[in-house]
Amino acid sequence: MATDRAVAAPAALAGRRPRAGFRRMLRVGLGLRLGVFGLVVIVVVSLLALFAPWVAPFAPEKTDFSLMTAPPGSLGHLMGTDIQGRDVFSRLVYGSRVSLLVGVIAVGIAILAGVPIGLFAGFMGGFVDDLLMRVMDTLYSFPTILLALVIVAVLQPGLVNVMVAVGITSIPLYARLVRGSTLSVRETDYVTAAKAIGARSPRILALHIWPNVSAPILVQGSLGMAFAVLAEASLSFLGLGVPPPTPTWGGMLRDGFSFIDTAWWLSVFPGLAIFFLVLAFNFVGDALRDALDPRLAHSLGSGRGPGKE
């Protein structure tokens, strides 16, 4: 594209080329910068979650009926209070615990179940592969939120069930990913060589295949955290997540929705929190991908969706 224009109008481009080059450089460097930004956000939110009792100025469930829906800034309430006079900032700080916990456990469940399935299917091939992948595809064809909804509806809403539901819905992502890389590694010369000297399957899987398929899991894990945070918030918003009075970001949005015309802060701050945490995990995932696979270094804006989400 640039070279075509250069032929057509070299003079016009002469002045532009350095800037275009500079912008391209900026774009590549930006991916890394955004990754660092994402990491900082994640660390800050984690610290807030860890030290919530020391950070939060008020107890998250402490009601104050003399100060209902007070706007931000009034009497030490940084982000205002909700309909029961509870401090929005304190509830946000405590809510981060649910978001992160659900994310970590759900991604853990998905990896623990999905990775062995993918390894096994890819390594065995044939009928086992077909069967496992058909089941995974069926699971994958369900819209995630719908599947999580069914699981939570049957198991009853609650912290553990939300983790399980979000975890189960993410299993196919890891299974498909690991199967794909296992298939390509299986055919390499060094695996053939290992087989030729008589290595057993578990040894080949652990020593030769696993190190080569593990890196993409890290990337998917970060994107999976973003997805889990979003899914938990969605379920809580629908009233099918972690039940009150435990503060969750999705639940806060649900409560605030009724006062959308009078108390904007109830709808704005929890949403911002979800948005930034999801964005942060996406950025870290993208940066990891770029770092692990230099061929994709231009990936910012290259059009990959972050997995299923």
Partner: protein, 317 residues
Amino acid sequence: MKAYMARRIVQMAPALLLATLVMFSMVFLLPGDPTVNLMGEEAATATPEQIEAFRQRYGLDQPFFIQYTTWLKNALQGDLGRSFRNREPVTESIATRLPVTLELALLSTVMAIVIGVPAGIVSAIKRNSIMDMFVTAFSVMWVALPNFWLAILLIMVFAVMLEWLPVAGYVPLALDPVGNLKSLLLPAFALGSHYAAVLARQTRSGMLEVLHQDYIRTARAKGLHERRVVLLHALKNALIPIVTLLGLHLGRVLGGTVIIETVFAIPGMGLLVIASIHGRDYMAAQGAILVLVLGIMISNLLADVTYVYVDPRIKYS
């Protein structure tokens, strides 16, 4: 091609069967008496006779397998049973709600394409311009935006502050076409804008990949107008990955209606699912979810089929 489609449709059957079996058995896996579970709050005040009557009315006294096969046989004939709450046939409530959801899905898809594809094209032909940066930054951030929060913000700005559009509710198309469009504009945008962002990224990278290929140079060399080169020669090939995304998008939209219809109080399939789950009306929930899953499978199939029309090089066997 016909053989491929036939095989795909046949493959859908076991997946659907599995889905129904899982949904159907879940109620029975719960601890306690399924009848009491299904009656929900009613069970607390009901006499043993009333519970027994409920059990018999819905055939819950039959063994699980008989119940399942009976339900399945009826479902195949279009009868999804009766609601546990209002005794209304589930098929009927789906019939009144499905068109609403389809209209919403269609409108959101059209909006996404109208916004996303041009943004991606401009971004690609003016690569590394301010416009490109803007589109890229927007699309990267937009993907992280929770759709229900976007919906809330849209209501705040366009319905509460500016009062241009209604806060919630649905106006039937036959009753008032303009009011209908107004009532669906915000929900459709909240539902489709995520796809617009993905489309913009995908169109951009697709166009960039295509634009420096030989046949584009040939088209330019033979003196074609740049607009013709971009819109006819390049876009057609850049569209291929976009079509695959369409199938995934439709799946997302049908799943997303659960949230968006709840926010905007639109009486479609999504609201039916949520209301049924909240009311522990498993018969209705199960029927509605089944129809949504079927819709998603069909849209995935359609995406694969359109793939072949856009790119004749792809052969399915």
